[in-house]
Amino acid sequence: MMTDFESTMRKREPREEDLIRGATGDWEIILGLEVHAQVTSEAKLFSASSTKFGAEQNTQVSFVDAAMPGMLPVINRYCVEQAVRTGLGLKAQINLRSVFDRKNYFYPDLPQGYQISQFKHPIVGEGEVVLDMPDARTVIVGIERLHLEQDAGKSLHDQHPAMSFVDLNRSGVALMEIVSKPDMRSAEEARAYVTKLRTILRYLGTCDGNMEEGSLRADVNVSVRKVGAPLGTRCEIKNVNSIRFIGQAIEYEARRQIDILEDGGKIDQETRLFDPKTGETRPMRSKEEAHDYRYFPDPDLLPLVLQQADVDAIRRALPELPDEKKARLISAYGLSAYDATVLVSDGARADFFEAVAKGRDAKLAANWVTGDFFAALNREGHAIEQSPVTAKQLGELLDLISDGTISGRIAKQIFDSMYKTGRDPSKIVEDEGLRQVTDFGAIEAAIDAVIAANPDKVEQTKVKPQLAGWFVGQVMKSTSGKANPQVVNEILARKLGLSSDG
């Protein structure tokens, strides 16, 4: 749906790096997104059919979903609560009275000939989403509204040369349409917005955010203008289903519009499709006709009236959301803003970190989790849930470092082994004899051997004390890295006659 935004959009100073250089000057991109998020629920919005993905065609279709004569919608309470929960997560106003309208149009995958949606009185009003950009900027994107509506079915066009095949399994599945204000100015911000929105929805448990299965789709409204000029005519790119494609579609579309305008043309307000194969957008043929949806309140449904107490109960039960979690990780664990942002981008990652960090050196925990651990996940393409190393095991590894049982260097070796085998670190230490040597006698003997073998280096060290490092390396080598480096340093300093505080 398209809304008139000029009056409500946030004032932003254009940033040099966001501007697109054209032949006639610099252009600013204005972006607003309408995200369709499938509500996580067992049953559909107005029927008891299952919402499970991937079922055989038309096997999750009730008589209501197939719009048989005389069938009536009955709303799913949980879907309503999920919309409220999402609204609260977006810091938005919850409307205690909202109305379901019919949006009338003909399409084979729309069996009723209308979509039940919310037009004039949505369940959720204005809110906001805070984007943490990689360059440490934050961008606030306003939310215009969130409303509940039914998904349509699916038409398959490639089964037959002259016919389309219609599957109504998705028909009637609950969607939340989340409409942003046109507050984004670059493809990067649009990507960050969808990413952040998806994170929030996942924290709330209201949408699984699975773009491959179509649980999250975005319509992107793109317009361009010369800096300081009024808003240009926008085009709506429908149903873009990956974050990468959102970026590509915007970049293509902005360039297309600029080229037209610079050639003295004008932009037609239209609905377009993004083709991932070519990376281009094209007008949608089925939407060529001027649409007149003839919205009116659905007479089969009464107004949706919520009690403030129920909204308050949902609010009290909200989980900690990414922004709050980030602030807490910074204050409670002394993390950098960057580390905290990385951790909260995925609730499971943040939970993992906290399980590791609890009662331990937070900085050490953050380094390990965001460092070796995430690197391993990325390398293996694992989601955190698939990690062979548990938070408890990584915690134990950190304990072994902290109590001097192993050295940091050995710890990395043990971690690799843990990731490969899933074994406990203590077991690896025992089995492979990796315990750090802190026995003074053994270390002293190793040092004596190195000194005895290199009298010339001993002499040089007297004038160039920094050569002591060479000795440390030799000792570590001869002890297979198990010698406690601190003890090695102390004894070496004494033996080489260097001043030592230790």
Binding site: M68, P69, G70, M71, N104, Y114, L302
Partner: protein
């Protein structure tokens, strides 16, 4: 005419309980009457085999001393009610061959209580009409004829098959639906009783929708007692219909005979419309006298927005129907006329599948909802509707029921009004306001016109106060003592 089919629903029920008659005998008698009465064109589908099976099952239950409130009673079902595996067309070409895989809640309630289905009754296409002439299956003929004339008359509509079948004793009672008068006006035209309960009293689930905010199911019967019995079975909360109301269903039959002493009856002065025939006016006055004589207190009341009810209705109902009928698109059931592409298929299917009146209302409804006109028409009409409902609420602060004529005339001839949609719409002038306000209303036969046709009086009640409504209707019925019946000319 068979002696068996002369029994009212209540009398047949009692005779079955006492095993004086069997359900099979009774059903057989009706099937025979139906076969002899095809000239009236009341049934679009006869389910003889199923009827006899159901009757046998009823007899088995009755033999064991079991059975529900309607055990073994043969009923006709308006073709707007979806009946499982039985052809259901709403008397429209566009539902050709449609056999629903489900049963409407109201008919399921009737079968639960032991009733027997005789078949599906003709009606105006999608219930849009006031004369049963818009049916794809042709007009229904009123069993009543003017004195000394054999001109065919309409049975009213949209439930014309129901009213004619009950009047001609081709069923014990019938289900019907009422969106703007479709139960009460045909009842008045055929000398039968028809009650439209409060909106939300009967479930709409499984009834082909016309205008969702106005449609209500109800019975057409031979007398008020039968109406009370039928309504007791049909009514009830249904969790599949969000607009059905969760209130216990009283035993409506028990409410009859409590008399109307002290009851306050309102006479809305705005219902004395210009050009009302004198005999309608006289009938109304007689009704007032009857109730007064029975001990009721008569009060004039005002319903100032009455004259706006019809125009309001003819915006709201077409708007809702234009959307409700969008599902008839040739994709999932019914008629399909192939086309060169999807849009062409839609347009050809819907042009061929809908009759002229349905097309007209769909276009009208599309127009009043379209961009730029919504506020001027639809929104305005829904505001006026609020005022109409308020008028009734104010009146019911002072009175218990309202008494009005049911229709501004007796039955008219087939073809007399088909060329002029507006004059047809005016038939519903007294019934439409009741639907707009969601109130219960009943039509009771109260006399004959000068040329021997039945005329009805309408009583309107408070929401969910069908008991008082039926009590008053019973009093009118007792006083009117309407005994006339049409001659069975159709059997010749």
């Amino acid at each position: 005419m068979s002696e068996l089919t002369k029994l009212t629903l209540a009398a047949a029920r009692d005779a079955l309980k006492k095993k004086e008659i069997s359900a099979v005998e009774l059903t057989g008698a009706y099937l025979a009457e139906m076969a002899a009465g095809t000239a009236l064109n009341t049934y679009v589908t006869v389910t003889a085999e199923k009827s006899m099976e159901m009757a046998k099952a009823s007899d088995a239950r009755l033999a064991k001393g079991a059975g529900g409130a309607l055990e073994g009673l043969p009923l006709g079902i308006k073709d707007l009610f979806c009946t499982k595996d039985v052809l259901t067309t709403a008397s429209s070409h566009i539902l050709d061959g449609f056999r629903p895989p489900y049963e409407s809640t109201v008919t399921a309630n009737l079968w639960r209580d032991g009733a027997v289905m005789l078949g599906k009754l003709n009606n105006d296409e999608f219930a849009m009409g006031s004369s049963n002439e818009t049916s794809f299956y042709g007009p229904v003929v009123n069993p009543w004829r003017r004195k000394g004339s054999d001109a065919k008359l309409v049975p009213g509509g949209s439930s014309g098959g129901s009213s004619a079948a009950v009047a001609a004793k081709l069923c014990l009672a019938a289900t019907a639906t009422d969106t703007g008068g479709s139960i009460r006006q045909p009842a008045a035209f055929t000398g039968t009783v028809g009650i439209k309960p409060t909106y939300g009293r009967c479930s709409r689930w499984g009834i082909v929708a016309f205008a969702s905010s106005l449609d209500q199911a109800g019975p057409i019967t031979r007398d008020v007692r039968d109406a009370a019995i039928m309504l007791t079975s049909m009514a009830g909360h249904d969790e599949k219909d969000t607009t059905s109301v969760d209130r216990p269903v009283p035993d409506y039959e028990a409410a009859l005979g409590q008399g109307v002493k002290g009851l306050k009856v309102g006479i809305p002065k705005e219902y004395r419309v210009d050009g009302m025939p004198a005999e309608i006016d006289a009938l109304w006055s007689r009704g007032i006298e009857w109730l007064k004589a029975a001990g009721a207190e008569i009060k004039e009341v005002s319903l100032p927005h009455t004259k706006y009810a019809l125009p309001t209705y003819y915006i709201v109902a077409p708007a809702e129907c234009s959307s409700n009928l969008a599902r008839y698109d040739g994709v999932r059931y019914g008629l399909r006329v192939e086309g060169r592409d999807i849009t062409d298929m839609y347009e050809k299917t819907r042009a061929a599948g809908f009759g002229a009146e349905v097309r007209r209302r769909v276009l009208m409804g599309t127009y009043v909802l379209s961009a730029g006109y919504y506020d001027a028409y639809y929104l305005k009409a829904q505001k006026v509707r609020t005022l109409i409902a308020r008028d009734f609420a104010a009146a019911f602060a002072d009175v218990d029921v309202l008494l009005t004529p049911t229709a501004p005339s007796a039955a008219f001839g087939i073809g007399e009004k088909t060329d002029d949609p507006l004059s047809m719409y005016l038939n519903d002038v007294f019934t439409v306001p009741v639907n707009l306000a969601g109130l219960p209303g009943i039509s009771v036969p109260a006399g004959l016109s000068s040329d021997g046709l039945p005329l009805g009086l309408q009583l309107i009640g408070r929401t969910f106060d069908e008991e008082t409504l039926l009590r008053a209707a019973y009093a009118v019925e007792q006083a009117a003592d309407f005994k006339a019946a049409p001659e069975a000319w159709w059997k010749a």
